[in-house]
């Protein structure tokens, strides 16, 4: 064999090892005393035949494959790389899968068949009802902070089957969330994903509290929100529009719907104090200090 031979022509496709064609000095095999005798030579070596070889994928091979395909390709649009928002708009679905290489007799790896599909919820273009229904269907596969739905499929044997299954899931989710079933009108307050202030027990309690205090003579001094009642003949909306009640509602919503921390508890305390008109003693002290 000449050293300048064209290797891609000699070994164009994947093939079992042939010692007569491959010029490399390889040895393979286990010996009882390796320090005394080297592993077996390549000629007539069965072990070399059993393992997968990548002699059909040398850098020269890859180069030629690329050159052959290049005339059918266009360069990847730079705008899609630089502008993530545009990429999200045009290609909202991201599919991730992995290939695995082994130093062993088998090329197979069960992890290679998993597919991960990621879609952003806002790219569906849903209204409120559909959004909510999709979130209920998808469950904890939805991440609120990144607004992403992640679907991982690996229940089928091949990657292609798993990919088809994931595509089916997305389609099914889309059409199901658009449907309005008759039993959906039985939805209760408990079924909501977030705890809303409107319609909660607190709201009713606050309204009753303010109405009761406003009946007394010096109601405004005790409860700031009572002045709303005095002005508007006891309107529920007026009470809820009062700034102390509004701020309380905001903080309450955060407190109930986020993970509870001491800081959130303290902010809740501040708002309740503002609502009930009972100030902290600290705050007076700080105001007095110059």
């Amino acid at each position: 064999m000449s050293p300048n031979q064209d290797w891609p022509s000699v070994w164009p496709a994947a093939a079992t090892y042939r010692s007569s064609v491959v010029p490399l000095p390889i040895r393979m095999g286990s010996r009882k005393y390796p320090e005394k005798r080297a592993p077996f030579k390549r000629v007539g070596n069965l072990e070399l035949l059993k393992i997968p070889n990548f002699l059909h994928l040398t850098p020269e091979h890859i180069k030629r494959h690329c050159e052959a395909i290049k005339k059918f390709c266009t360069p990847f649009p730079k705008e899609l790389i630089s502008d993530t928002k545009l990429a999200e708009k045009l290609c909202p679905v991201t599919v991730t899968y992995s290939d695995y290489l082994h130093q062993g007799t088998s090329l197979r790896d069960p992890r290679a068949r998993t597919n991960t599909i990621e879609v952003k919820l806002h790219s569906f273009g849903f209204n409120e009802h559909d959004n909510d229904k999709l979130r209920h269907l998808v469950g904890n596969r939805y991440n609120e902070e990144t607004d992403t739905i992640t679907i991982v499929t690996d229940r089928c044997h091949t990657r292609k089957q798993n990919r088809d299954y994931a595509d089916f899931l997305l389609t099914a989710l889309y059409y199901e969330s658009k449907k309005l079933e008759p039993w959906e009108e039985q939805k209760l307050r408990d079924d909501n994903i977030k705890i809303e202030f409107a319609g909660s027990k607190v709201e009713k309690r606050i309204i009753k509290l303010v109405e009761k205090v406003a009946e007394s003579l010096d109601g405004e001094k005790i409860l700031p929100a009572a002045e709303a009642v005095k002005n508007n003949e006891g309107n529920e909306k007026a009470i809820l529009q009062h700034p102390t009640v509004k701020e309380f509602a905001e903080t309450w919503y955060n407190y109930r719907n986020q993970k509870e921390t001491p800081e959130l508890t303290r902010s809740y305390e501040e708002r309740v104090r503002a609502l009930l008109g009972i100030k902290r003693l600290d705050s007076n002290k700080e105001e007095k200090k110059p």
Binding site: S200, K201, V202, R205, I206, K208, L209, K212, V213, E215, S216, L217, G219, I222, L223, F248, W252, Y255, R256, E260, T261, P262, L264, T265, R266, Y268, E269, V272, R273, L275, L276, G277, I278, R280, L281, D282, K285
Partner: protein, 381 residues
């Protein structure tokens, strides 16, 4: 005469001159006159008051022992206590009952603040409805009885009698006033025993103490009457629940079908929960969010936190919302130093090292400014 090395600052020299003490004292011993300037100073509760208010049953066990040993009940005046007093001063007949929850880390003074508040309430002639520990009712199972008044509910006769006796002892300062208040209707406890209309409500208490079978129903009637009279303005009511979040926890009381009862099914708890509603005025409900209810020694993975929703559960939170959560904090450096001075004065600290400044700094770090551990370390040094 007095050791001069430790006291160098002006305040201590003044304290030495006026009171012959190392530790700083508040301006008055009367809690209603304490101001912001008294924070970080010690005041004394007279021993007659501690005995009258059954403090040995309310206070944390270690502090109780300290009171018995030192023969005086000296408590540090801290920010959280003044906040609670501030809330108490807002109470009036036109304002529905205020709910206050004491929350904070273990050992930071929740139960102690409750005790201080009870003493304050006594000095101001409030009626005190103090439950020593709701968790005892749910977890420490003594005799159990099925309720006659409401089938399906569970009575706790021994705890009811115990509670009524405690109520009687703590309210001796307003017993005459309570005797002047009358019942709304006739209460028929059994076919034979009744309390007629327009009889003093103290008769309900006496009836409950005398007859354990009826005691739980007496507690319920008492709660009702107290709310009624509080709304009318005749009395001011302080409801102090230690372990308040146990109203929404779990019980160890087994029903006939061998399942555990829910706290709602215990009539004592059901009656106390009515205080959390908005239908009565002129009162304050002070609860403690205690982590003991939620903590399980066998569950090594869960890490409960000290905040109100976690401890009261969502259902409990909805019942008490809106309430004022008052945080009890760890010692500041000043507060720890004052306590250290107090222990030095009382010869509670034995070793010379512990009495020194260096010792104080060591105690700061070892206890991590936690009041409970600080006291425990001082007890053994």
């Amino acid at each position: 005469m007095l050791a001069s090395r430790q006291t160098c600052s002006l305040s201590f020299r003044l304290a030495r001159l006026s009171f012959y003490r190392y530790y700083a004292k508040t301006s008055t011993d009367n809690p209603s006159n304490l101001t912001q300037d008294d924070i970080g100073k010690i005041y004394q509760i007279p021993l007659e008051a501690t005995k009258a208010l059954a403090f040995e049953k309310i206070l944390p066990s270690k502090f109780n022992k300290q009171v018995n040993t030192m023969d005086d009940c000296s408590i540090l005046c801290r920010q959280q206590f003044l906040e609670v007093i501030n809330c108490l001063n807002v109470v009036r007949p036109s304002l529905p009952s205020i709910r206050v929850v004491l929350w904070g880390k273990f050992g930071t003074g929740k139960t102690l603040t409750l005790a201080q508040t009870i003493h304050f309430a006594q000095t101001q002639n409030w009626v005190i409805f103090n439950v020593k520990d709701v968790m005892n009712w749910t977890r420490k199972v003594k005799d159990v009885q099925s309720s006659v008044y409401k089938p399906g509910r569970i009575d706790l006769p021994e705890y009811s009698v115990d509670f009524l006796q405690h109520f009687k002892q703590q309210n001796q300062h307003v017993w005459k006033t309570l005797s002047g208040l009358n019942t709304e209707r006739t209460y028929e406890w059994t076919k034979v025993e009744k309390t007629m209309q327009d009889r003093p409500i103290t008769e309900i208490v006496e009836m409950g103490i005398a007859s354990p079978l009826v005691a739980n129903d007496c507690v319920g009637a008492l709660c009702r009457e107290l709310r009624r009279h509080s709304t009318s303005g005749a009395i001011r009511l302080l409801v102090a629940l230690d372990g308040g979040n146990s109203l929404y926890g779990k019980t160890l009381i087994k029903k006939a079908d061998r399942s555990f009862a829910v706290p709602e099914e215990l009539s004592l708890i059901y009656q106390v929960k009515k205080f959390l509603k908005d239908d009565w005025t002129n009162g304050l409900v002070l609860m403690i969010a205690d982590k003991r209810e939620v903590v399980d020694a066998r569950d090594t993975l869960a890490v409960p936190i000290d905040t109100p929703i976690e401890l009261f559960t969502e259902q409990g939170f909805e019942d008490i919302d809106p309430f004022i959560p008052i945080e009890t904090k760890l010692y500041s450096e000043n507060e720890a130093r004052i306590i250290h001075e107090y222990y030095k004065e009382k010869n509670w600290l034995i070793t010379e090292e512990a009495r020194s400044d260096k010792g104080l700094r060591e105690l700061h770090y070892l206890a991590a400014y936690n009041p409970y551990y600080f006291e425990r370390l001082c007890a053994f040094n």
